[in-house]
Symmetry: C2
Subunit: 466 residues, 2 copies
């Protein structure tokens, strides 16, 4: 359903076209209803049904500057976006907004293998950068499940995580410097082109994860890591989630840092079984998928196998590709599913030792509120993705129960010393929980920082900060 408020001020589209694409030949300003609708949301839940007045496809930095200058002058809300694969409603349209797509700015500007650095435009797809640097024996470490679609710009906006974070860090840890356009059209360069650098405040880290509320990234200098020459994947089926959680701690206690350590509960195994014809859920109650890499991969594999065997896990055979395939299935088990009102994927994180307690709490919460639940976790860093859902035919009553379960799960994560969002961001959807995590003084400070960058509040209003 399209909201009529989308046409409050119908002149912005043509005015913007006159500014950056006068003869319309480049198709930079799209006013088509279907396009505007397609660009009105991401993969997360939605609060309303606004569509943007126009979708702008920027070709270059000057386009971004011109659009922002115009929007700032006319107080038009601007929602910058990449591929729209976010799951927190971070790019959902607001009333009278325009959407600024960076997809066309998708050039890898530079790869410097000896410096282990690349410079990319924001629209470069994460996986494409990975492919391009692989031939130099390098990788771009952050690997959100959507890495084949998601753009580096979007990853930067959300400080995206992924499977490899526990060992290789999140997006912020890979971003050295940014070119960014502020709300008034000013082009800034933050950060550095070197691994280290401490001149002034860390504006780069401030911008990473700011969900398009402080500026629009038009280029990023990123650090690359070494593509491992060796990697060993182990799948470990456990009778129960308690056993699997013990496995996570046992690997940690042996001081092995896996590249990947994924936890899947029985419900998630059932989804994989259904999709791929496997029989995991008949054979165990929880699954750990562990990958070691680096020059110590084989030694670490042996240590991991020893630790998990002791706990009674059923392990994949050394050298077979079961675990590798399961990791790929795991990547596919959630990232490509669109949430809706009746099914919501969560993204809390808790200290690692609290994993098993927290999964228990989730079960209790699901039972109490009569909602369905399955859980996957990046166990290495305590980042859980519980998915709660109800049957659409339960209608309003179901939604009420779902909301209560989500609230309770978030409270429980905070009580465990955790956070309401490990890697997906606040977006629009988690704003209501932000004051549960952050004290009013912290929220205020963020609003005042926002004012410094964007005094008229045109950049992605109503997202990211309370």
């Amino acid at each position: 359903m399209v909201n009529q408020t989308s046409t409050t001020d119908p002149d912005h589209g043509p005015a913007l076209r006159a500014l950056i694409d006068p003869d319309g030949a480049a198709g930079k300003v799209d006013l088509d209803q279907a396009v505007r609708t397609a660009y009105s949301r991401d993969f997360g839940p939605r609060h309303d049904e606004f569509v943007p007045d126009a979708v702008i496809f920027a070709d270059n930095v000057a386009d971004v500057q011109a659009v922002l200058s115009y929007a700032n002058e006319h107080s038009v809300p601007v929602i910058a976006r990449g591929a729209g694969t976010g799951v927190s409603g971070g790019v959902n349209a607001s009333e009278g907004c325009i959407v600024l797509s960076l997809e066309r700015m998708n050039e890898i500007l530079e790869i410097r293998p000896d410096d282990e650095v690349a410079v990319v435009q924001p629209g470069v797809v994460n996986g494409d950068l990975g492919d391009a640097v692989a031939e130099h024996g390098l990788m771009y470490a952050p690997d959100p499940a959507s890495y084949r679609q998601a753009t580096i710009g979007g990853n930067i906006a959300t400080n995206a995580g992924g499977l490899r974070c526990a060992k290789y860090g999140v997006t912020r840890d890979s971003v050295l410097g940014l070119d960014v356009v502020l709300a008034d059209g000013t082009l800034l360069r933050t950060g550095k082109g070197t691994f280290k650098g401490v001149a002034g405040y860390d504006l780069t880290s401030l911008l990473v994860g700011s969900e398009g509320t402080l500026g629009v990234v038009v280029s990023a200098t990123v650090r690359l890591r070494y593509l491992s020459a060796d990697s060993r994947s182990i799948s470990a089926l456990f009778p129960s989630i308690e056993d699997a959680a013990s496995g996570v701690l046992a690997i940690g206690r042996r001081r092995v840092q896996p590249a990947i350590m994924e936890f899947l509960d029985a419900g998630t195994m059932a989804v994989i079984d259904e999709t791929f014809g496997t029989d995991l859920s008949q054979r165990g109650g929880a699954l750990l998928l562990v990958r070691t890499d680096g020059h110590g991969a084989a030694i670490e594999e042996e240590i991991v196998r020893g630790a998990l065997s002791e706990l009674g896990a059923e392990l994949s055979e050394p050298g077979d590709d079961v675990a590798t395939r399961l990791i790929e299935m795991r990547r596919a088990s959630r990232g490509d599913m669109q949430d809706d009102a009746y099914r919501v994927g969560e993204d809390v994180a808790v200290p690692r030792s609290r994993l098993v307690d927290y999964v228990h709490r989730l079960s209790t919460i699901a039972a109490k509120h009569d909602v369905m639940l399955r859980v996957v976790a990046h166990a290495g860093d305590g980042n859980l993705h519980p998915t709660f859902w109800v049957a659409p035919e339960d209608g309003a009553a179901g939604l009420e129960r779902l909301g209560q379960a989500l609230d309770a799960s978030v409270r429980a994560a905070l009580e465990a010393g955790g956070t309401i969002t490990g890697e997906h961001g606040i977006g629009q959807f988690k704003l209501r929980w932000l004051p549960w995590e952050q004290q009013e003084e912290v929220l205020q400070l963020q609003r005042r920082i926002k004012d410094v960058f964007d005094p008229r509040g045109i950049l992605n209003p109503g997202k990211g900060i309370a």
Copy 2:
């Protein structure tokens, strides 16, 4: 020489004592001339000779809040400090200031081995934290040369680096959350207690490296890393710095990430020879010290040895302790030396592939301006510490030449795509170069952020940002 301006407003000391230590029994407020003089500077160069009106030794968070509230109300500049081992003049006294020492707040509040997290007060000495977590098989990764004296609070203020950064990151990468007191006495909690977390803006990263200009850290939650079960140290003597720089690139091209990779020029080897009675400088023109660690340490050692042998390096014997001792000597070769007007240690960083070019530039610069030079570098991350000096008997003319050489060396680093400070911070000493690196709009943005945190400008004025 004590400046008379230090007694502009002699009432603050007694007033502060009345506030936090009414009977004086705890010795929290020290007005003694010798103490005030001792706390008037760090190990860096100095612009002036101010001493603080009082030195406050805070015992707890309430003390810090009370002192800042008072100072804010009376617009008294406050310089928070740890051990004062910084080398950029970051805690040098300014006119009419008080110094707030956090040394007494030196408790390790919590070590949670399974979560791989510790919570510490700001006055905990870096090396003490390392010792305390070692028994759990863990380490606190940032290791500035002064780690046996420097405090975690000071490390956070400067975003301290060290030898292990290329593999394990700088201070910012190890700080998950902070308790911080703002200028007006407000106590805030930023960040998270988990490895991952993306709720709101990254205030934690903004505070790390802000050199005491945004708030005073009263507690930090830090991430710990695994203490390596194995480590292999290799020393490699090369005929020339070109050969040593080729060695750095050769190790990188074999995609081995050493835990430590230090470059020492002939001048630095001569200092070690003099101090420890070795004969390094007679045997080669440059030295690389490489340490591999982790479960792949032995495999990586072999790769490193192969790569460096091919380049004609004279390697230490496998298993002997020469390289280990040299790394310890290297740690001692600069960190404990106080700079003065006639000898200044620099801290630029350049992209790794530019190391050799840059070292050449330095030699040219030193020759042109007739100053002495030696160079060490954390070669893994392109962070160089050239030391320039002139004979004190050269007087003003010498200082003039020294200043010109420093300026030229900084310009050259920027021309190579580098930064004016890799890990020491801007402090007071490097303020003059900051506008060479950062455009006016970036400097302005930082001033406005500073205004948000500290509207009256009482926190370490004249440091860190221009």
